[in-house]
Symmetry: C2
Subunit: 216 residues, 2 copies
């Protein structure tokens, strides 16, 4: 598949590298694709990888991953362009954290999650919130965490969620680990897990952890 | 021990009943302690139970449980009185949900959790956020959920958290299920779990579930 990853930070590069490893064609999109860390990444990733502007990245793929910082997401997606994103599946892995170093981190407040906001701004794009609840290394390699831990999904399109489920399976998530929280408003539940993640990360001293859902 | 439970809704009555079962002396506090459902509850609970105003309840106990609705908590605690609450441990099990029927539920937003707000308003009371992340029946009987699921705690006083841990152990929580998220700012992580709980409750069709923390 042709998959674009918007954002060249640690989340974007980790996802893009894993997608290349799985033999997908990947374009990493950035505001400034000429940045040295991106060129280095493309050279290291090999022939299936390239870089481009947000718009070039969006244009070249049927699945677009939003791995930009939550505060920069809307600008990045506007730069990608509504027309370029129309008809595509957008996997939103971002957290709307205005200051991740704050303790607790400052989350964008208000009555709408970032996932919902993206879906409202880009009505012709099928937004699926996914993977924002775990660290980048766990996103692409869930076996780093032992036991029955989960990957939540939320989105209005069943078909898009099925497509994202397929990608998660490729990453190594077992079918029964994928928990569908319903329509895109479920993104709020997922984004609100960020402060818990920060606390657990500090008390455990690493990020190889995740939540499980235990039930009767 | 003498324990007061502020709030006579399902959360308060469930906690109070379990505390009586464990042979604690319990006062259930209410704005209007003469309400028929409270009198009925007291008669059924037996000689260790009584009811009173918020102030009477706070005065008579060394541990006070806030089981009022999140939107009513500050008024209820003000009615209990700063002097009556001074020197006591306050276990805050409330969620700051302005409309629990909304979908997703509308959480009070802003940059401070209810737990933090209570601690700031009542500086001579040791506030411990606990149990707000599970249903009332799981709070007092964690065995309803199989497997290794957790009870989070947050609070500034180590001693108060040790006391609350003791109570959780009495309820049946195993020692290794109790996860300390640090000072009272950790309450934000815990309160933000409410929308996830609503979604999971709907998809599972019951409330006998909880989160586990899986880690390497």
């Amino acid at each position: 598949m042709r998959i674009s990853v918007l954002g060249s930070g640690i989340v974007g590069r980790t996802l893009a590298a894993r997608l290349v490893e799985l033999r997908h064609r990947v374009v990493i999109g950035s505001r400034d694709p000429g940045q040295p860390h991106i060129s280095r990444w493309v050279r290291a990733a090999g022939e299936l990888a390239r870089s481009g502007t947000y718009a070039e990245a969006a244009r070249s793929a049927s699945i677009v991953v939003n791995a930009t910082a939550g505060t920069a997401t809307v600008d990045a997606l506007r730069a990608a362009g509504e027309a370029e994103l129309a008809g595509k599946v957008l996997i939103d892995v971002a957290n709307p954290v205005s200051d991740p170093a704050a303790d607790p981190p400052l989350m964008r407040t208000g009555e709408r999650s970032l996932g919902e906001e993206i879906q409202a701004l880009f009505p012709h794009t099928r937004v699926v919130k996914a993977l924002n609840t775990v660290s980048p290394s766990v996103m692409v390699n869930p076996k780093r965490v032992p036991g029955g831990h989960v990957a939540f999904l939320a989105g209005d399109s069943r078909q898009a969620k099925t497509m994202v489920t397929g990608l998660l399976r490729e990453f190594g998530w077992p079918a029964d680990a994928i928990v569908d929280l319903g329509d895109i408003t479920g993104a709020r539940s997922m984004e609100m897990l960020f402060p818990l993640r920060q606390r657990l990360s500090r008390s455990l001293g690493h990020t190889n952890f995740n939540l499980g859902v235990l039930h009767a």
